[in-house]
């Protein structure tokens, strides 16, 4: 097994210097997610500005994969229309649940494509999705009804 294939440089960079970290006020939706198998925790807030994601802030503790993933999420969705963010969410979930067989679209997922290698390790998929699960739940709480639809994250 090639460790570098899973822990791409991009992932390690995001892990060491996470974007969006620290909870911020004000916010419209919030979610607290845990990974019961390993005890990782993540609290995430979303601030909306009309149909746009104005801010995503988060705090928690977790492995490099979960921490890097939420950092990448921040880059991908902040300052984007909600619809774009939801499309990225669906694409990321599809990538992660594809057992390494889904070819990621770099135009949509940008740094998120680095997680393609993680998808081959079922035990780590949940780590990668923790932040996205929190984002989806926070959007629902913020009143974005269509966030209820789309990819099922479990």
């Amino acid at each position: 097994m090639d460790l570098e294939a899973m822990y791409q440089e991009i992932i390690l960079d995001h892990y060491k210097n996470p974007h969006g970290r620290g909870l911020r006020e004000p916010y419209d939706g919030e979610s607290y997610q845990i990974n019961p198998t390993c005890g990782d925790e993540l609290q995430l807030r979303v601030k909306l500005d009309g149909d746009r994601i104005a801010d995503v802030s988060h705090t928690g503790q977790g492995c490099s994969i979960s921490q890097a993933s939420v950092s990448v999420l921040t880059d991908l969705v902040v300052d984007r229309p909600v619809d774009d963010a939801l499309a990225k969410l669906d694409a990321f979930v599809e990538l992660m649940q594809g057992r390494g067989k889904v070819e990621p679209d770099e135009d949509v997922l940008e740094d998120g494509v680095a997680f393609a290698g993680v998808a081959k390790y079922p035990a780590r998929v949940k780590c990668a999705l923790l932040g996205w699960m929190a984002f989806k739940a926070a959007l629902v709480q913020a009143g974005v009804e269509k966030a209820r639809e789309g990819a099922e994250i479990s």
Binding site: D40, C63, S64, C127
Partner: protein
């Protein structure tokens, strides 16, 4: 002149390993497997598979039913396995109940206690309700925690617990107030699945007896690894799992003192566990059948019997001594690495072969991933002991757990894995 006790013959690791086909496989692109996750589930020797196979190929049928020859042979083989289990832990066969696993054994006791509310006078001592207390410890596996929480929720009883000291020992300083005349159950682990700490049941059993409380011992991590005589320990109930002691999954054991099993109401009801059934009511078979409703796991119980034969042939003292050497080597080697913190006792004094640790700056999940890439299988996470991790101020840990088939030189792979994780994540 004092007599020197006979030393157990040392364990021949190479000979043992030859009985475990899985240990010869490679993982992750050709790396030899180093299996350090026996605390979660152990591997099975050929002898266990052979026993299961022989039963299925020659005598398979439903036990305790039917009068044909296969039924007779199956029942004999099943009951023979029960005898072996009983002898292995120093109790009578009538005191051994086969369950799905240890978790089910604890639930059986907890649910039987709720059922006691509506059972007859003979079940009185099992009744719990408001004002009663159940005492556990902060180092319990969720299996010996959640069922008691739930029993308290169902009955209005209060859950209390012993704390854990910073060095991973049970804090018994408040034993006389924690275990008091309101206490109905004292449930505790014999050996922590995270810390490796071995708890001496004596003071807990003595205090529980004084106040008339029942004791329940989680022996999942002790019975597979050292000589254990449950009668001598004096506990009222004990549980352990087949798959953690070279046996199959799907079979566990609940031990209960005979008079208690006789008085305790059943948990699961149905076929096999009855004496007389009418449309209005039923009476129940004597224990252990009273607690074994339905056709039981059979080849699994027989496999467990074979696992016990295997362990007896090696000798439990030899197993314990071998694991002590492994533990000593691991504690010493890990202790020498900067940035590694061992969770639990750092000597082999009253300590078994589960060694958990954290690596500064590298999350346990990532340590485990690096080790996995090198062929070393360890457990990462909270190991079903979340409150214990919270108490120790860590979200998770890495656990290496040893068994009779591990060799001392495999500890080198553990150390190499930790160092590689540190290098890869740039913390050294």
């Amino acid at each position: 002149m004092t007599a020197t006790p006979l030393e157990a013959a040392p364990l021949d690791v190479a000979a043992v390993r030859a009985d475990f086909p899985i240990l010869t496989r490679t993982v992750r692109d050709g790396k030899p497997l180093v299996y350090f996750d026996s605390g979660a589930t152990s591997q099975r020797p050929r002898q266990v598979l052979a026993a299961e196979r022989a039963y299925v190929e020659t005598s398979n049928s439903a036990v305790h039913r039917g009068a044909h020859q296969l039924a007779e042979e199956a029942t004999d083989a099943f009951e023979d396995a029960r005898e072996r289990v009983a002898k292995f832990v120093g109790v009578d066969a009538g005191e051994v109940v086969f369950t799905k696993n240890a978790t089910e054994g604890i639930n059986l006791v907890a649910y039987s206690m709720s059922n006691a509310a509506t059972a007859g006078e003979e079940a009185k001592r099992f009744r719990v309700g408001e004002g009663d207390e159940i005492v556990i410890t902060e180092m319990e596996h969720h299996a010996n925690l959640v069922p008691w929480q739930q029993l308290c929720r169902r009955t209005g009883a209060t859950l209390r617990w012993f704390g854990v000291t910073d060095d991973g020992r049970l804090d018994l300083s408040d034993i006389d107030s924690l275990i008091n005349e309101r206490t109905k159950v004292v449930a505790f682990t014999h050996q922590s699945n995270v810390l490796g700490t071995v708890n001496d049941p004596a003071p807990l059993v003595e205090r529980a007896r004084k106040v008339g409380a029942l004791t329940v011992l989680d022996a999942c991590q002790s019975v597979p690894h050292a000589p254990v005589n449950l009668r001598e320990l004096g506990v009222d109930f004990a549980v352990f799992s087949g798959h953690k002691m070279l046996g199959p999954s799907g079979v566990g054991v609940l031990y209960g003192r005979r008079e208690l099993l006789e008085a305790m109401p059943p948990f699961l009801t149905g076929g096999s566990m009855i004496e007389l059934v009418t449309m209005e009511r039923s009476t129940f078979a004597p224990p252990p059948q009273k607690f074994e409703a339905g056709v039981p796991m059979t080849s699994q119980a027989i496999g467990l019997g074979a696992a016990i034969d295997y362990l007896r042939a090696v000798g439990m003292s030899a197993v314990a001594e071998h694991e002590k050497q492994l533990t000593e080597a691991a504690l010493t080697a890990l202790g020498e690495i900067d940035g590694v913190r061992i969770i639990g006792p750092t000597t082999t004094e009253s300590r078994g072969g589960a060694v958990s640790f954290v690596v500064d700056g590298v999350h346990p999940h990532d340590v485990g991933q690096v080790m996995d890439s090198m062929g070393v299988a360890v457990r990462v996470g909270h190991h079903c002991a979340w409150p214990l991790h919270r108490r120790l101020g860590i979200p998770a840990s890495v656990r290496a757990s040893f068994y009779l088939y591990n060799s001392v030189h495999e500890i080198d792979a553990l150390v190499a894995g930790v160092r590689e994780a540190q290098r890869f994540f740039g913390v050294v």
